[in-house]
């Protein structure tokens, strides 16, 4: 009896402790929020002070943030959205198809592709980044509309590997039954295999989304920077002119770049956390 009361006391203490720790954990984000409502000079002078009547500028930073730095925020946001959605869709569809092929067909191409995928997972981006830029330039893959091909190519290794882990566990009998019923490979894939892959599609999709949306170096090197910027490139570009730049407006830009992610997180938190745990098991 005594033990259980002790336990619940401990549990209360822990709850309070973790509540405080959680609040502390959010301070950096809170910092961005308060500074995005302060005039530039006050961000520099007292970065930790709450906005006062004197320093509060309302939405002015957000309005300025949309346009300043010679590059409108909306353009960068559009390119970021476009590149992320198309790249992830391409990776999910084409890599799951390849993984199914590799799992079902026992041929030299299958084996070669599989081992190349494994190999690509241990190659850091720095190894290929300069030469990838040359290749992308040559093949006109340096625009937001063609760069998804580069993402598909560089991301294929990990994606195929993760899909393979799941496809190998699918019962062959179902596909045989579909074949007996007269399904060709395409129909079997889209009507039978793809629906069964749904949990893996979500896990892989979330990992790829987090990668492409936040990626800085690949689009920075590959894209024609005079014309196209994504959100991370824009933020780094603004930081590059540190000192002359309007910090309040930069904070507003950062806020606008974080909000879509946080909103998405609130809605699909369960899937995100499951996806991370599942992705890690494969290592």
């Amino acid at each position: 009896m005594k033990k259980s009361t002790q336990y619940s006391n401990l549990s209360k203490v822990m709850t309070v402790l973790f509540a405080l720790l959680s609040i502390a954990w959010l301070i950096p984000i809170f910092e961005v929020v308060i500074n995005s409502f302060k005039a530039n000079s006050f961000v520099n002078l007292e970065p930790f002070a709450l906005p006062t009547a004197e320093s509060f500028v309302g939405w002015a930073n957000y309005i300025k943030g949309m346009t300043f730095g010679n590059y409108p925020f909306f353009r960068a946001a559009f390119y970021s959205f476009f590149i992320t959605i198309v790249s992830v869709a391409l990776i999910l569809l084409l890599c799951s198809m390849s993984a199914w092929y590799i799992a079902r067909v026992n041929s030299t191409i299958s084996r070669v592709f599989y081992y190349l995928c494994l190999f690509s997972m241990i190659v850091p981006f720095q190894m290929v980044m300069f030469t990838l830029t040359f290749t992308a330039d040559q093949l006109d893959l340096n625009t937001p509309f063609t760069i998804p091909v580069v993402y598909l190519g560089f991301g294929a290794g990990l994606a195929i590997f993760m899909f393979l882990g799941f496809v190998k566990g699918l019962p062959l009998e179902i596909e045989e039954a579909a074949a007996i019923d007269g399904c060709g490979p395409l129909r079997t894939y889209f009507n039978v295999v793809l629906p069964m892959l749904k949990p893996t599609l979500i896990s892989v999709g979330i990992l790829e989304l987090m990668w492409v949306w936040n990626d800085y170096l690949l689009p920075y090197l590959v894209l024609d920077r005079t014309k196209y910027m994504t959100i991370p490139i824009l933020v780094q570009y603004l930081k590059g002119s540190y000192g002359t730049v309007d910090l309040g407006a930069t904070m507003a830009v950062i806020m606008m770049s974080i909000i879509p992610i946080i909103v998405a997180y609130m809605f699909c938190q369960k899937h995100i956390i499951k996806g991370v745990a599942a992705g890690a098991v494969k290592g």
Binding site: M14, T15, F18, L21, S22, W25, L26, P28, I29, V32, V43, P47, F48, C95, M97, S98, Y101, R104, V105, S107, I109, L116, I122, V123, P124, Q126, M127, V128, F130, T131, L132, F134, T135, V149, V150, L152, G153, I160, L172, E176, A179, G184, P185, M210, N214, D215, Y216, P232, V235, Q236, K239, I254, S257, I261, Y265, Q269, I273, A277, A280, G283
Partner: protein, 298 residues
């Protein structure tokens, strides 16, 4: 999997005819995005070049220059120190948070949500946010983040810990939840103390999670780039042996900044990239081999 003749006829043969649809697009993209740049990268590390068209074979001289560069050595030791510190810090904190959150506690799900959140923010944005915070704190002492290499190093450690603890916590929570209640019950019945249960029942059973997390933190530390670039950009820099050395630079950033010095350094940067690749590959393979050995023993 032993394939029956029936499945070969029914499943394998028809798919094979569809190879151009199922495998060719990905394979082409894979060649463009990985295979060709990789091979060309190896070749160019032995060349002096501005673009691949004007490449001239120079043998091993790029590698010699890379090893003589004090900035590269500095970046290597920085990366090694950074990896050791962040592996220990992130894994210990993440494990204990995960352990606490899997006990009976009100609000555990909310706390988990909060701790994971920094992961969703990109490295460049994180670097910007933390440079503002560190500069704001250091200003009270009349100094700033890039005044001194120690500030930059520990600043990066704090930033990365804040970002990755939540991620590793999720993996540890999954591992801890997989331990069967029966086993813990048995330990309790046998009169194990809390400490004995932790070290002799719980930790051995989450070993797979620990290996995964140390592997991830190790490779993440070695490949760290965005956060390094956005937080300090390698600053401050000093002149050492007649070469510029960026004190807080890690390996990935050093490769990048070497390339940007001027075109006579392109080959050296590519040679450094090859050395970097070999280093990362050896670390990854030896870690995986160690894991496999452990799994065989179990």
């Amino acid at each position: 999997m032993a394939k029956s003749k029936r499945s070969v006829n029914l499943v394998q043969r028809p798919i094979r005819r569809f190879a151009p649809i199922f495998i060719l697009p990905t394979f082409l993209a894979f060649v463009i995005g990985f295979v060709w740049p990789f091979l060309q990268g190896i070749y160019l590390s032995f060349c002096s070049f501005n673009t691949p068209k004007d490449a001239k074979w120079v043998g091993f001289s790029n590698y010699v220059k890379a090893f003589q560069d004090p900035g590269f050595a500095n970046a290597f030791w920085n990366t090694a120190a950074f990896a050791v510190v962040s592996i220990i810090l992130i894994n210990v904190v993440a494990f204990f948070i995960a352990f606490a959150l899997t006990q009976k506690m009100r609000g555990a799900n909310l706390f988990r949500t909060v701790f994971f959140m920094p992961n969703l923010i990109g490295g460049v944005v994180l670097g910007y946010i933390w440079s503002m915070i560190f500069d704001g704190i250091l200003k009270n002492y009349g100094t700033y983040l890039t005044a001194n290499g120690t500030y930059g190093f520990w600043g990066l450690v704090i930033l990365v810990a804040w970002q990755q603890i939540g991620y590793m916590m999720i993996i540890y929570i999954a591992g801890l939840q997989a331990i069967s209640e029966d086993m813990l019950e048995a330990a309790r019945m046998d009169g194990a103390t809390g400490r004995q249960t932790l070290f002799q029942v719980i930790i051995p059973n989450v070993m797979p999670s620990i290996t995964t997390c140390t592997f991830l933190t190790l490779t993440n530390s070695f490949k760290m780039f965005d956060q390094n670039l956005a937080l300090t950009g390698g600053l401050p820099s000093v002149i050492q042996d007649g070469a510029k050395v960026n004190i807080t630079e890690l390996l990935a950033l050093n490769i990048y900044s070497t390339y940007n010095i001027n075109k006579s350094w392109h080959g050296v940067a590519q040679a450094k990239a090859v050395i970097f690749f070999i280093l990362v590959a050896v670390l990854a393979i030896s870690q995986q081999a160690a894991t496999r050995r452990k799994e065989v023993q179990q």
